[in-house]
């Protein structure tokens, strides 16, 4: 139920759900960057869309004027009250949808679960999962690299970290898609967030009685300043880990596989030079950064010549910042060996993605294993590829063929 009317002026009436924008936003960003680097629209509220690296990173660091209390790119309802998880969550999804001081202590509770040391302990599980998935279709000669592979990986690793059953993976994926990908359909979004929250409410009860060695149990049994963490905050944090940890990395894996399916020279190079993969995956993250987050303007302010009003949203266009020729040589080219790559796919400033170490590991292992099992693959001729966009951009249907 995507409600879009065609866009005739991207500077004054942009629409991030426009199908052309979702499929290929890069030229639109280039045009805006050189003509009107901070675009505006009144579709779904008053929204600004910066496209330059300098502007996006400056806004990300200016937490005084640009709050994270509303981070959804696609608001629900006219007054946007349903943002970030619904009315059941008094504090939204901290730390992502919060400012200091709530942001500071909730983030400190999450970070150790995604530290390098901890992420190292998830490698074997991730590799085993990738190998099982690949083993399931490698002899078929064809697969949907998005739905059969990319989509299946992060959700199961996140379930393990949270301490919930990976049997629920398909439900998790469905709920997260309802919230993020189909967020402009109020019915679907409400249904997704209700089901997700109901599930976690029951899991919290279970973990309160039978604590395990997992994130949910730890949050329930942690004290901050001598008091337990309020249930609505534990619930918000659990929902955040699932919502933020699933669609995003799956999209990054899918976009990387799309690139390799459509650029045989790059694919062959990674097969011959597997040591290049850590550098190459940073380039995939730069060129196909999946995530756009919103900020809300805290008071009337002029930024970059734009009269921003209290309550306006700024869509933090990290993907466009990563394509800014002022910040990157040959910004439009995907250079697997790009040595200097200060990309902001994981954001910038105090809201840097808390799961970035995990995402990098999943992307590395997923691509390594795919190339080991399926070194040669191309798009399946005549089959349509579909992309999701808005908050998170990535392929949702990606049919490929191989020997």
């Amino acid at each position: 139920m995507t409600r879009t009317t065609p866009v005739s002026n991207w500077a004054t009436d942009f629409d991030v759900l426009d199908p052309h924008y979702i499929a290929d936003p890069f030229g639109i960003w280039d045009d805006l960057r050189s003509s009107c680097p901070i675009a505006h629209t009144d579709r779904r509220g008053s929204n600004w869309l910066p496209t330059r690296y300098e502007d996006v990173t400056a806004i990300a660091h200016d937490i005084e004027h640009f709050s994270s209390l509303k981070v959804a790119v696609i608001p629900v309802g006219e007054d946007d009250v349903d943002d970030a998880g619904g009315p059941a969550l008094e504090y939204g999804l901290p730390p992502i949808s919060s400012d200091p001081p709530l942001h500071t202590w909730t983030r400190r509770l999450l970070l150790p679960w995604f530290s390098h040391r901890r992420v190292e302990s998830y490698v074997a599980l991730t590799r085993d999962l990738c190998q099982k998935l690949l083993g399931g279709f490698v002899d078929d000669g064809r697969a949907d690299a998005a739905a059969d592979y990319a989509q299946q990986i992060p959700v199961r690793v996140i379930a393990h970290i949270l301490g919930v059953s990976s049997d629920m993976s398909d439900s998790f994926t469905g709920w997260v898609r309802d919230i993020l990908e189909f967020g402009d359909d109020p019915e679907r979004r409400t249904r997704g967030s209700e089901q997700l929250l109901n599930y976690f409410v029951s899991q919290l009860e279970f973990r309160r009685q039978s604590p395990g060695d997992d994130l949910l149990s730890e949050l329930l049994h942690t004290e901050v300043d001598g008091a337990p963490v309020p249930d609505s905050i534990v619930l918000g944090m659990a929902a955040l880990v699932l919502i933020a940890g699933v669609d995003t990395t799956w999209s990054a894996i899918g976009s990387s596989l799309w690139h390799l399916a459509t650029h045989p020279d790059d694919r062959e190079r990674l097969v011959v030079e597997p040591d290049l993969l850590p550098t190459a995956l940073e380039e995939f993250l730069r060129a196909y950064a999946p995530v756009t987050m919103a900020r809300v303007v805290t008071g009337d302010v002029e930024f970059g010549g734009c009269p921003m009003k209290e309550g306006d949203k700024v869509l933090m266009n990290f993907p466009a910042a990563n394509r800014d020729p002022e910040a990157f040589d040959h910004a439009d080219a995907v250079l697997l060996d790009r040595a200097h790559n200060r990309h902001v796919a994981f954001g910038s400033g105090i809201h840097r993605c808390a799961g970035s170490n995990l995402a990098r590991m999943e992307l590395q292992v997923a691509l390594e294993e795919w190339l080991a099992y399926i070194p040669k693959f191309t798009l399946e001729a005549g089959k349509e590829i579909t992309w999701a966009g808005g908050q998170v951009r990535g392929p949702r249907v990606l049919p490929v063929v191989f020997q």
Binding site: R108, L111, P112, E282, A339, H340, N341, R342, F346, S348
Partner: protein, 65 residues
């Protein structure tokens, strides 16, 4: 060559550690630090790479006295 991480700028992207674990450590909260007094011979290029890839511009050269 001597380098330091500005703790106020570092946001835990951990690019430095990924590129040069011989020179940097990152704690459980993402805070990076330099683990050598002087960058050992042969690792200057890695130090330069870390500097050039930090999204927060948090790694600095310490000027020689």
């Amino acid at each position: 060559m001597r380098i330091r991480v500005d703790p106020d700028k570092c946001q835990g992207h951990a690019r430095c550690y990924g590129l040069a674990p011989e020179l940097f450590a990152v704690d459980d909260y993402g805070q990076a630090s330099v683990i050598v007094d002087v960058v050992p011979a042969g690792l200057e290029e890695k130090a330069e790479l870390a500097i050039a890839n930090c999204p927060e511009y948090a790694i600095e050269r310490i000027a020689d006295d």
